[in-house]
């Protein structure tokens, strides 16, 4: 009886060993499939990688590749009092009084490397990037769309819409937190948002070139009265 038990324990042990080893091989085969660029195998079996790795072990190792980040995006906020809010959305917004929410973070992060500034600006900066391009999984669709693939354009636009809406909600909350905290004595009712993209000076113009600036309107939003205040805009007064 004891011998039988010992033998079955050994059998279970061996089965567990073989199963875990096979699991390891399968896991990393799917991982490679998931992280690698689009290729014929991925076109065939990519759904398996998305169902497993994408769902439970999501990962992205592009790390500044294939194209490194080369633009600085800044969120500009204009806190608006009730009488400043245009009745008609097509009317122009005030040109003065826009505040750059991102740059203060960058400066502090550069001054204090062992601080939270680099990470605290991440939700804002990553949302700005998502708003622009929707994220790495949409890059192939952007490329295909640029080459005239109408179906790719449609898929991209469908995927982009909810991501932009989510990013816009993030901007509204951050903008509202800024307005309420940086100007505690003012009563605002709306927040206008735009982002500024500062392109890198090309290598050939590095000696005297100036970065190219471009502003994009993100829209006018009702001030979020409930969002928690972070506690760092007061000190900065950006």
């Amino acid at each position: 009886m004891l011998r039988l038990l010992a033998r079955s324990a050994r059998g279970v042990g061996l089965a567990v060993r073989v199963f875990t080893l096979a699991g390891l091989v399968a896991h990393f085969a799917l991982t490679l499939l998931y992280v690698f660029p689009l290729n014929p195998v991925k076109m065939e079996l990519g759904f398996l990688a998305n169902l497993t790795i994408g769902a439970y072990f999501p990962q992205n190792w592009s790390l500044f590749a294939p194209t490194p980040v080369q633009t600085t995006q800044e969120l500009l906020v204009r806190c608006l009092k009730a009488d400043e809010v245009p009745a008609d959305p097509s009317q122009p917004l005030p040109t003065e009084g826009w505040e750059d929410v991102s740059s203060a973070h960058f400066k502090q992060a550069q001054r204090h490397r062992l601080s939270s500034y680099e990470r605290l600006v991440r939700p804002l900066q990553n949302s700005l990037r998502t708003y622009l391009n929707g994220g790495p999984d949409l890059y192939p669709f952007h490329d295909a769309c640029a080459k005239g693939d109408a179906e790719a354009c449609k898929v991209r636009d469908t995927a982009l819409k909810p991501r932009r809406e989510q990013a816009a909600r993030m901007f509204r909350r951050i903008g509202s937190a800024f307005c309420r905290e940086a100007f505690p004595n003012a009563t605002f009712s709306a927040v206008a948002l735009r982002f500024r993209e500062r392109g890198a000076v090309p290598w050939s113009a590095r000696a005297d070139g100036q970065p190219k600036l471009q502003d994009f309107e993100l829209g006018l939003y009702k001030l979020d009265e409930t969002v928690s205040l972070p506690g760092f805009y007061e000190a900065e007064g950006t």
Partner: protein
């Protein structure tokens, strides 16, 4: 082929591997998570709270009913704070090697919960940390001695293999993608990154205007990542990993990616084998003894007179002797050694305060002055200097010293007594009078 397979099987089945590498990884991940908890904790409500900027749900990794329950943690302000505290606590356990399996599970769960609420906050370091924490659940606890060939040894080795393969996938993918990018192949990638405020430092920006430096730095990054999965399997492993550590210290300083760099440094240290750690430790010990031997002075340059009847003073003397690896200090008890008389000191003065004497210059430091002079002489005591200078500036240094010295417990040692009874220490006798 059969032998090779047998060897591979035995490697997995018999003895646990990468135990020191795993500890190094745990320490680095511990510091990374502690950095996060200590710097982001005060913003917990703003980042993850019910009215914070995060709006995600744990449904990404939990089934719907469980996620509904788990998401309740975000409905109160103390919820995210508790998660951050758990993360910090687990990080400390990982650093010190306490209950590492439980600490790993807690760190993984809390970081998953925080990431699901606000995924926009994370970077590559958080991503790889979560993956290796998952694999580490199957690793042996830090100080456990397992039975040879047991199932837990097998699971540990599978986990070690998974971490190694994950590092390989990371580098291979990143290198491969970089190789397909024109900015990396034309060598201007790091020049471009150096202009992005988020990932650069103004002080370094001008450096990347140099064509040699920017090309070299871009190509080095590209080739390092491309070669990594192969190089770590060759004899070049240690120099390659050392270069990786250097590279990631640079990324932390130049780009400000502290969490990412700590995670990557942990992964590089993980790949050093136990045998290599033993070899490195031996080499370090040899180097240390050689340096000590070379820096050791032929004879002590100062004598510290302490009270050998006071156990606390003896312990202090012993500690100082250990810290003084150059052998410049001789610690003696004035109860057993009367050299002090030749140096013009009295037993009464020595009973009140310890004295540091430099026989060559004839300089004598007493009490707090002696403490300060010792701290200046010994490199290992330099961290105490600001405190000592503060004590001097406030005028409380000598007073504090005398307060402590007068309250020390004196127990005469019979071996130090002459014939017959021990003499009562002068101060004690004076107090009795």
């Amino acid at each position: 082929m059969k032998t090779l397979l047998r060897q591979a099987w035995d490697w997995l089945a018999l003895e646990p591997h990468q135990r020191r590498g795993l500890r190094a990884l745990q320490v680095c991940l511990g510091f990374m998570l502690l950095f996060r908890a200590s710097t982001e904790g005060r913003f917990a409500s703003y980042l993850w709270g019910p009215r914070g900027i995060g709006e995600g749900s744990s449904i990404d990794f939990l089934s719907a009913p469980v996620a509904r329950l788990a998401d309740r943690v975000y409905t109160v302000d103390v919820g995210p704070m508790a998660l951050v505290l758990l993360l910090g606590g687990a990080a400390i356990c990982l650093i010190f090697g306490w209950s590492t399996r439980i600490a790993t599970a807690v760190a993984l769960l809390s970081s998953l919960m925080l990431a699901s609420r606000l995924p926009e906050l994370g970077d590559g370091g958080d991503n790889v940390a979560r993956l290796v924490l998952t694999y580490m659940l199957f690793a042996l606890p830090a100080h456990k001695v397992p039975k040879r060939g047991s199932l837990e040894v097998w699971l540990h080795n599978i986990a070690m293999l998974a971490i190694g393969l994950q590092i390989g996938v990371l580098y291979l993918t990143s290198g491969f993608l970089k190789a397909t990018g024109d900015k990396w192949s034309n060598g201007t990638a790091l020049y471009l990154v150096s202009q992005v405020e988020w990932f650069s430092h103004p002080a370094m920006r001008q450096l990347f205007h140099n064509p040699y430096l920017t090309t070299l730095a871009s190509y080095t990054t590209l080739f390092y990542q491309l070669w990594f999965p192969v190089a770590v399997l060759t004899r070049l492993r240690l120099p390659f990993l050392a270069f990786g550590l250097f590279l990631h210290v640079g990324i932390a300083g130049f780009m400000g990616l502290i969490c990412f760099s700590l995670a990557m440094m942990g992964l590089e240290l993980f790949l050093v084998t136990d045998k290599e750690y033993t070899w490195l430790a031996g080499g370090w010990e040899r180097l240390r003894s050689e340096v000590r031997e070379r820096l050791r002075v032929p004879e002590p340059t100062a004598v510290l007179f302490i009270d050998g009847f006071c156990s606390y003073c003896r312990l202090t003397g012993e500690t100082l002797r250990r810290l003084d690896w150059r052998g410049r200090l001789e610690v003696v008890s004035f109860r057993e050694d009367d050299r002090f008389r030749r140096l013009g000191l009295s037993a009464e003065a020595l009973e009140l305060r310890m004295h540091l004497v430099e026989p060559r210059s004839g300089r004598v430091f007493a009490g707090f002055d002696a403490v300060e002079a010792l701290a200046l002489r010994m490199l290992s005591l330099w961290p105490l200097l600001p405190l000592l200078w503060l004590a001097r500036a406030s005028g409380q240094g000598q007073r504090l010293y005398d307060f402590l010295a007068s309250r020390r417990l004196i127990v005469p040692d019979a071996r130090a007594c002459g014939e017959g009874a021990c003499a009562v220490p002068a101060r004690a006798a004076a107090e009795e009078r």
